[in-house]
């Protein structure tokens, strides 16, 4: 009991220091719990939405695997309705029309679809819709040109009753007037929804009054959904149509949501992992310092009869207290984080209700277990060290000197790990295949990280001296003192810097890879892209025929290239079948994208009965020029084509594409199943670049989903996409850096306390408060810069190895973002300054008399 009481007293006596460590625990736990609460809330919200969306049984045309992207929905005959109504147990049959292959524009021709990837759906208004949405103003569609719009989209784009909407589909476009606004009864997952009357929807979206996209069936009382499904299958012939119960639909929906949420969940948990890792350093350091500070006291406890185990346990008990306090706060913060994420989702268009916040019982349990476990495991080593303190320590003045042998063992171990990691990275960089290389890369990253952590304290001597020579010397004696202080306890300096190192290594490694991606893409564009204009559909959908026609009709153009990805099964001479897509394009595509070949001339692949294959595939299937390849077009005939060119895999554009002439492909597919262009290219007539750009802009003005970019614009887009990704990663890594800063604060604060008498002495012999503050600040800056040197060094190594490895897949140009690295260094210096604010203030405020009187 006394031991526990001592622990508790010690814990309370070091509230400030413990608070900093508790923040580290808090952040890790908060990330984990926040992620759990957020995903649980999302799932339960969608469960509620699904509960209202699906009919008892739904009948649809079969989803063709590897279907052609024609932009037209698959349909069922209208005659099916009567047959379904006659199936015993069917209480109600509602024929439905719905299409996601549409773009909806407002009267200013602005796309009002979701910007976050949620679908835009146009469907007919019928009685099944009222389960999900209710009309809150206006009325249901009554006239052919009337529509109902969902309330969230209406609010976001300031649309109201009477406003005009243009609906653009593969069949053409038509205009409707908003006659009513519908509001979700549960939550709007961010989709843009437009409802038309059934006749209009059939005519405009399907082109026929005799077709529907699906039938919603309601089971008669006493008939279960499964029974109904079985009966429908029996009546229509099993396998003719896709028949699903509400439960099956729901499972599919959950799977879809999962595939959207899971990456997000893993990213968040990944960052929680980093926060935990950095937190471990902070906790180990805190307990090491507390134990060192208490050496005499522990020695006394040992002298008067405490056992090793008791000492050990008392330290661990403090760790448990810290873990519990940190975790409980972390669980609270995690719920806050989840609310924040939900708010962000709301801003992006997905309206989740925070009242539906789902906190499963497991969540706090997981948080608490994680927090306590991490803390206790981290405190294990310091606790053992505390137990090993000899009773003689009570009589000695200062802490025990570091064991020189342990230092050597550590050095050897660390160097070995780093060398092994370095070897793995080198092997990864020079590896012949991407799959073998990525394993080596991961191993190398892990080993070098651990190796650096282990040798950190030994590197501290060298690096701090060099840094000192470069930066601190200009601050004269104060700088020299700061340098000496940073070197005084290399293990502590090393551990403090290591925490910072992890975040910075990840930032610099990722930015090397990201920058190399942009540089490689830019380099390759300059080398191989001949097109003046690159035309894509903004929301990832194919370019509608009307838009394509308008582009072909634009003036001042030397040529316009159509390019469609045609789904097919490719049969190699060795008999293997690949379900894939072949790139069918106009021959001018060879000018637009001058893909390198390893054998043959690319233009020959556009001849009749010809195609090209990529080098890797050719090698795998022993295909050479002149080989005959079977191409079974999905929904069409099988072609027998001759390989006339083999393209290089060393490219970022169209890697692995198989080319053939679009005219050739059309021979094997009926016109109505031929996919739409997914990309188009155009070249201006010589010297008419500006006129051509203006003409294309005018031609596509009516199609807000079609984006025309020149080469510079395309490069910008690549850069922006990557920047967006990197910024998100940087923002999350900032968390790791915050924890590391807390570590620096902790170390400095303790150093100041430890050096109370020294500080008193220096004040007595004439050091001013300002000089003292500067001394603490400089020590902090030098520790932070040390962390930055390690982190950036490590990150550069990782980034370069990764780029070398990725050069196998077209990432040929290494680009080191010197600006980012400069910012990292400057930022680290600032981090050091900020971390020193409080410790420096405290050191300077210390009462000289009390300081020199301290025992």
């Amino acid at each position: 009991m006394t031991v526990l009481r001592t622990s508790l007293r010690n814990f309370l006596a070091h509230k400030g220091r413990m608070a900093l460590s508790a923040v580290a625990v808090l952040l890790s736990v908060a990330f984990v719990c926040g992620t759990l609460v957020f995903t649980d809330t999302m799932n339960s919200t969608f469960d509620r939405l699904f509960a209202t969306t699906f009919s008892d049984v739904t009948v649809r045309p079969h989803q063709v695997d590897n279907a052609q992207k024609t932009g037209a929905p698959d349909t069922l005959p209208a005659s099916l309705q009567t047959r379904l109504a006659q199936v015993p147990g069917v209480a109600d049959v509602v024929p439905e029309v719905s299409s996601g292959q549409v773009t909806v524009a407002d009267s200013h021709n602005q796309d009002i679809g979701s910007s976050t990837g949620a679908p835009t759906i146009v469907s007919n208004w019928d009685r099944t819709q009222t389960r999900t949405v209710g009309i809150t103003s206006g009325h249901a569609p009554q006239q052919p040109d009337e529509a109902v719009l969902d309330a969230d989209t209406a609010a976001k784009h300031h649309l109201g009753i009477g406003d005009r909407l243009r609906i653009i589909s593969a069949r053409g476009d038509f205009t409707v007037r908003v006659g009513g606004i519908a509001t979700f009864k549960t939550t709007n997952p961010g989709a843009t929804l437009v409802y038309l009357d059934t006749g209009t929807a059939q005519r405009e979206l399907l082109g026929s009054r005799d077709a529907f996209t699906d039938y919603a069936l309601t089971a008669a009382p006493g008939v279960s959904n499964d029974q109904l499904k079985a009966r429908v299958d029996a009546a229509l012939g099993s396998g003719t149509y896709q028949v699903r119960t509400a439960a099956e639909e729901k499972a599919q929906g959950q799977k879809d949501i999962g595939s959207f949420l899971d990456p997000m969940k893993y990213v968040l948990l990944g960052f929680a992992g980093i926060a935990v890792l950095v937190g471990v350093f902070l906790i180990v350091n805190t307990f090491s310092m507390l134990v060192a500070q208490r050496t005499r006291e522990i020695g006394l406890m040992r002298a008067i009869g405490s056992s090793r185990r008791q000492i050990n346990r008392s330290v661990l008990f403090e760790a448990v207290l810290l873990g519990v306090v940190g975790s409980v706060a972390g669980i609270g913060a995690g719920i806050g984080l989840a609310v924040g994420l939900i708010k962000i989702m709301g801003a992006l268009g997905m309206h989740l209700d925070t009242a539906n916040l789902t906190i499963k019982a497991a969540t706090p349990l997981v948080g608490l277990t994680l927090g306590v476990l991490v803390t206790v495991v981290s405190a294990m080593l310091p606790a053992r060290r505390a137990g090993a303190i000899s009773p003689m320590a009570a009589m000695r003045d200062a802490g025990t000197p570091a064991d020189a042998r342990a230092g050597r063992v550590r050095a050897a171990f660390g160097v070995l790990l780093t060398a092994a990691g370095g070897t793995a990275l080198t092997l990864a960089a020079t590896s012949a295949t991407a799959s073998a290389g990525s394993g080596l890369l991961a191993l190398g990253v892990l080993l070098t990280l651990v190796g650096f952590v282990v040798v950190g304290p030994l590197l501290a001597g060298l690096v701090v001296r060099v840094l000192g020579a470069v930066t601190l010397r200009m601050f004269g004696p104060v700088g020299r003192l700061a340098e000496r202080n940073a070197l005084r306890n290399p293990r502590r300096t090393g551990a403090t810097a290591a925490a910072l190192m992890i975040g910075l290594a990840l930032v610099s490694g990722l930015s090397v890879v990201g920058n190399s991606m942009v540089a490689s893409a830019t380099h390759q564009m300059d080398r191989s892209v001949g097109a003046d204009f690159i035309i894509q559909s903004g929301n990832g959908r194919p370019i509608s025929p009307a838009a394509a026609q308008a582009i072909h009709a634009a003036g001042h153009l030397a040529h316009v290239t159509d390019r469609a990805d045609v789904a097919a099964t490719v049969i190699a001479p060795d008999g293997t079948k690949d379900k894939t897509e072949v790139a069918a394009a106009t021959p001018s595509y060879t000018d637009d994208l001058q893909a390198k070949t390893v054998q043959g001339k690319l233009i020959d692949a556009y001849g009749p009965g010809a195609m090209s294959v990529p080098a890797g595939w050719a090698k795998d299937h022993k295909v050479a020029l002149g080989s005959r390849i079977g191409v079974a077009f999905t929904g069409g005939a099988t072609a027998e084509l001759t390989v006339r060119a083999i393209t290089s895999d060393d490219t970022v554009f169209d890697r692995g594409a198989m080319y053939l002439n679009i005219a050739e492909a059309r021979k094997y597919l009926p016109a109505d199943t031929f996919p739409l262009n997914n990309m188009m290219f155009a070249a201006a007539q010589p010297g008419q670049q500006a006129e051509a750009a203006a003409s294309l802009k005018a031609a596509t003005a009516d199609y807000p989903q079609v984006k025309v970019r020149d080469q510079a614009g395309y490069k910008d887009m690549i850069q922006q996409q990557l920047d967006q990704l990197l910024n998100m990663i940087y923002a999350l890594l900032a968390l790791a850096i915050i924890v590391a800063v807390l570590g620096v604060v902790n170390t400095l604060a303790l150093s100041v306390v430890e050096r109370t008498r020294e500080i008193g002495l220096m004040r007595a012999i004439g050091m001013s408060r300002r000089q003292l503050r500067r001394m603490v600040r400089l020590e902090s800056v030098v520790i932070a810069l040390f962390g930055a040197v390690l982190g950036v060094g490590l990150g550069l190594g990782w980034g370069i190895a990764a780029q070398r490895l990725l050069s196998l897949v077209g990432l040929g140009v290494l680009s080191i973002p010197w600006t980012t690295i400069g910012v990292v260094f400057l930022g680290s210096a600032v981090v050091g300054l900020v971390a020193a604010l409080f410790p420096a203030f405290r050191a300077a405020r210390m009462n000289v008399l009390r300081a020199i009187a301290t025992d």
Binding site: P477, L761, R763, A764, G766, M767, R769, I852
Partner: protein, 262 residues
């Protein structure tokens, strides 16, 4: 009894004032109301230049407080203090720090040195902080006087207690301060090392003309001084010129018995 005032004793150095530090009506009290403790009770004192003064007195007599106030480490509750020409009772922290840096040297009982610096760096630290270059010739003389020439590159941890204290003495002397304060500088040393230090302090007064004020409770240490001041209950109660260890001991005994009978 009234506090005594000593007349300045000039030592033929006409340019500077003959008093290195003085206090008038110096009072220092801690706390307030019922818990008020008066550590110094209207002390008037002069510390003559070029002399070695010892301050003695029982625990709690206020001898350390007096030294801390004179050295600008502690603030007076009332009264005035001058170091050289400067009245320090009116100075703010910045100017006090500068005064300590430029005009005052310290030797504490223990923990006198920075463990990260070698002996030489410790000696020149006050000048480094001030951004002054040490006077080479003077530094060599000081180092020679305290007998440290061989050990200048050693860290404190590699020096014995006596050697560490000699480094502290050298540091105090090196900047040629107006006055050096010693707080039981031999309190942690054995008698041989202690007498060595006291010998250096004596020589620095005789040969280098240094002014030294030292708090001690050791009669032998006090016997190295030119003069001993006795403090009791925050007042100066007696003085002895040219003390010997025996005479100091006798005097202390008489205070002790008087304290007990009264």
């Amino acid at each position: 009894m009234t506090t005594s005032v000593w007349s300045p004793q000039a030592r033929g150095n006409g340019e500077r004032t003959a008093v290195a530090a003085r206090a008038r009506a110096l009072t220092k009290a801690y706390g307030s109301g019922e818990t008020r403790v008066v550590a110094l009770d209207g002390v008037d004192v002069d510390m003559p230049r070029g002399r070695f003064t010892a301050i003695m007195g029982p625990s709690g007599s206020g001898k350390s407080t007096l030294m801390h106030c004179l050295a600008g480490l502690d603030t007076a509750s009332s009264g005035q203090i001058w170091v050289g020409e400067t009245e320090i009772t009116k100075l703010g922290d910045k100017r006090l720090t500068r005064l300590r840096r430029d005009s005052i040297g310290f030797i504490f009982q223990a923990f006198n040195l920075l463990p990260t610096l070698n002996a030489l760096d410790n000696i020149t630290l006050p000048m480094d902080i001030a951004g002054r270059t040490p006077d080479r010739a003077w530094l060599e003389r000081v180092v020679e006087t305290v007998g440290l020439a061989e050990r200048l590159k050693h860290r404190p941890a590699q020096l014995s207690g006596g050697q560490q204290q000699r480094v502290a003495v050298a540091r105090a002397l090196a900047a040629r301060p107006e006055i050096i304060f010693g707080d039981e500088p031999t309190g942690n040393l054995d008698s041989r090392a202690g007498s060595e230090i006291l010998g250096f302090l004596r020589r620095s007064v005789d040969e280098l003309g240094q002014t030294i004020v030292m708090v001690t409770h050791d009669p032998v240490a006090a016997s190295y001084a030119d003069r001993v001041l006795y403090l009791a209950d925050g007042r100066i109660v007696d003085e002895m010129i040219a003390p010997t260890a025996d005479a100091v001991l006798e005097k202390l005994k008489s205070f002790d018995s008087r304290g007990r009978t009264s």
